[in-house]
Symmetry: C2
Subunit: 406 residues, 2 copies
């Protein structure tokens, strides 16, 4: 049964034919805001169920990644699968998928076939390089999207300083960004379809991991095109603003200090006890400070390393200068602001007990998103979903017996 | 005059009262998909106009960041400003702002006042820590959001390997992610407001930079809550899947190789000429490979460093293994897939001449986004916008003379 709720996307029904991170993250966002999400999984489950730390064979990541979704374990290779999917699609507004381009078509689920059942269907395709072009058939994961998007090269210390390989940001940021772009595009297409002056039209989205990351590269491309400048990594700093960096503390932490505006820099200079820096031609104005960022960072580091992170935070807060320790999982879990805003909250997971979940973004006070349940078991809702679609108990048992569903 | 266009968000009108990156990036995304975006700027312009490489005093970043927007240079401190904003709001669906919480209220532009003019207005507030809670008044920039969101700590080599500070990803990713979340939330609120069964209601979004980043931290929080595990940086690798890393090449580049699935790893082992790795208990299954990732990465590095990036790419493509050089601006600008998909395109900028712009994400083939014009001059559309709002030429001249608009 579709769950009525008070969240913003109540009334929206989404079918996910996805796996790994990008498409499931997209549907997690839609589900967090109240959409009814039906996830089709193989009988072995989404591979993410095997990723990361496990408790009694169950992934903690899945508790969040699969939350608010209903799971249908369906063997898409079975001859009966196409009809089942199409009967579900008839009642869905959106299909989200992230197979290799052309895969769904091979399964008899091309856009045309899907629209044959639901003519105003919104279809979101998420892939590595996109649904068209010479590279469409290339395999890609999030890390590839980050590399081709330009993010990985820039995530490093300046060339010639340490000569180490660039690092990953620690999460599948490329997948998540692509999933978020898909969620945005889906809602844009739904708005134009469903508003009073809208066109009622079906639309297909073609979201590429590479392009999703590349779209966030700011001035990297125009500066190359016009000036031949190849944007280089800048370690902890910012190429366009200073001072802004991670500065060492006496207790072995790092504190981010972002004093890259005139009033902020003035206040920082006062706090350092070096008001003369304000009039110093090397630091007078952002452009001058950027040119002399290394010198400035050294001055700030010499100061910051005399204090513990706590002391620094207190002093910088008093001076109203943007600053923060680089948070770990422990810092975040205990953060009073996250707790106050329910961005860190306990969720009862029937399989795992109490699990800490990240909250819901964006926060919409008039109709906040909800965590209705944690990531379900494989096929937990198979019978319920097929019953909603009009299958009789006997038909459902038969499909189970034939190994079509689980 | 509002510009009719064929893109998905044609018919949507948005007022931006923002600056720097987050709110303007949100409105850029809406404008790319066809929304009419009115940007209110101070007479000195958005500070981003001063950031990055300049050509004849004009920022190349702005050519993209400000594209498709109409600029109204308005002194918000002037007594006449409130009435002007309210007359604009009357014709807008959405207001996007990223001032410090409470600032707009001080200017006489609280949510209540704005709704007094447009009762079904969608209002998106983007801030560092959110509109509520003990930290709401704290100053924050993107880098702070990344630090508090947990991203910065994880963007580093493993503890004890080099003991260097964590690095920035090279762009204001926290701001851009928050802007994208705001765009998603705006469309969700508009869909529920405007659809046939919708509620016609105004909604306010409360998007925090910190929470936008934190929401992408995957299993970091639940693994800490349940197991006390503090997620650590892993350099170029992935904590949950192997092999996946940046591997050195003979010509001094790095190539990302993501062979972290059974079939992919089998093909990689064959390509390395070491089929015995497939049955090797250290590498048999993802969990085993993750535990022995360092050994495995060394084996792959010893192989990769014999070949140039081009050769490696060709071999890995032939074996259908996800791989890519870490792209620079030059690699992206020349990439055939980006060119084919118009993700790299020449745009005529009246002030800068031909400028390379990144294309539009998501790609929606039935009604693709458009780049109608590049970032405008400060106040380029001031008169036109006030005229649309019913101000007479005389009134507009008077406001110019009084220094209210520019």
């Amino acid at each position: 049964m579709i769950q009525e709720n008070s969240a913003t996307l109540n009334g929206l029904r989404v079918l996910e034919i996805g796996h790994f991170v990008a498409a499931p993250f997209c549907t997690r966002l839609l589900g967090d805001l109240g959409a009814d999400v039906i996830k089709i999984e193989p009988h072995s489950g989404d591979p993410v169920r095997q990723w990361g730390e496990q408790v009694e064979g169950r992934s903690l990541w899945w508790s969040i990644h699969g939350r608010n979704k209903r799971s249908l374990a369906l063997n898409l290779k079975a001859p009966q699968a196409q009809e089942i999917v199409l009967r579900l699609v008839a009642d869905c507004d959106v299909v989200v998928e992230n197979f290799r381009p052309g895969q769904l078509e091979k399964m008899g689920l091309s856009d045309e076939v899907l629209r044959g059942t639901r003519k105003d269907l919104i279809i979101a395709h998420v892939s590595g390089y996109g649904q068209t072009g010479p590279w469409r058939d290339r395999a890609a994961f999030g890390v590839i999207g980050e590399a081709v998007g330009g993010l990985r090269y820039l995530t490093n210390h300046p060339p010639g300083t340490f000569d180490l390989p660039p690092v990953r940001v620690g999460v599948s940021i490329g997948d998540s960004i692509a999933g978020l772009y898909a969620a945005f595009g889906i809602m844009a297409a739904l708005w134009q379809r469903d508003r009073a002056d809208g066109d009622g039209k079906s639309r297909s989205l073609d979201v590429a991991l590479t392009e999703s990351v590349f779209s966030m590269m700011e001035a990297m491309l125009p500066e190359y095109g016009k000036l031949g400048k190849i944007k280089q990594p800048t370690g902890g700093g910012i190429a366009t603003a200073a001072p802004s960096n991670a500065y060492p503390t006496a207790d072995g932490n790092f504190v981010l200090i972002a004093a890259n505006s005139e009033p902020l820099f003035k206040r920082l200079a006062q706090l350092l006890g070096k008001p003369e820096l304000i009039e110093d031609p090397r630091f007078n104005g952002n452009r001058a400070r950027v040119e002399n960022a290394a010198v400035l960072d050294q001055i700030i580091s010499d100061w910051s390393s005399n204090f513990d992170a706590r002391e620094l935070q207190a002093m910088l807060d008093t001076s109203d200068i943007p600053a923060s320790k680089t948070y770990t999982a422990a810092d975040a879990a205990q953060d009073e602001q996250y707790r106050f805003r329910k961005m860190v909250r306990e969720v009862q997971d029937p399989n795992l007990g109490e699990v800490l979940h990240t909250g819901i973004v964006p926060h919409i006070p008039e109709s906040p998103g909800t965590i209705r349940w944690a990531g379900p078991d494989i096929g937990q809702h198979s019978a319920e979903i097929l019953s909603d679609a009009g299958y009789s108990p006997t038909e459902i048992d038969t499909l189970k017996g034939q190994g079509v569903i689980r």
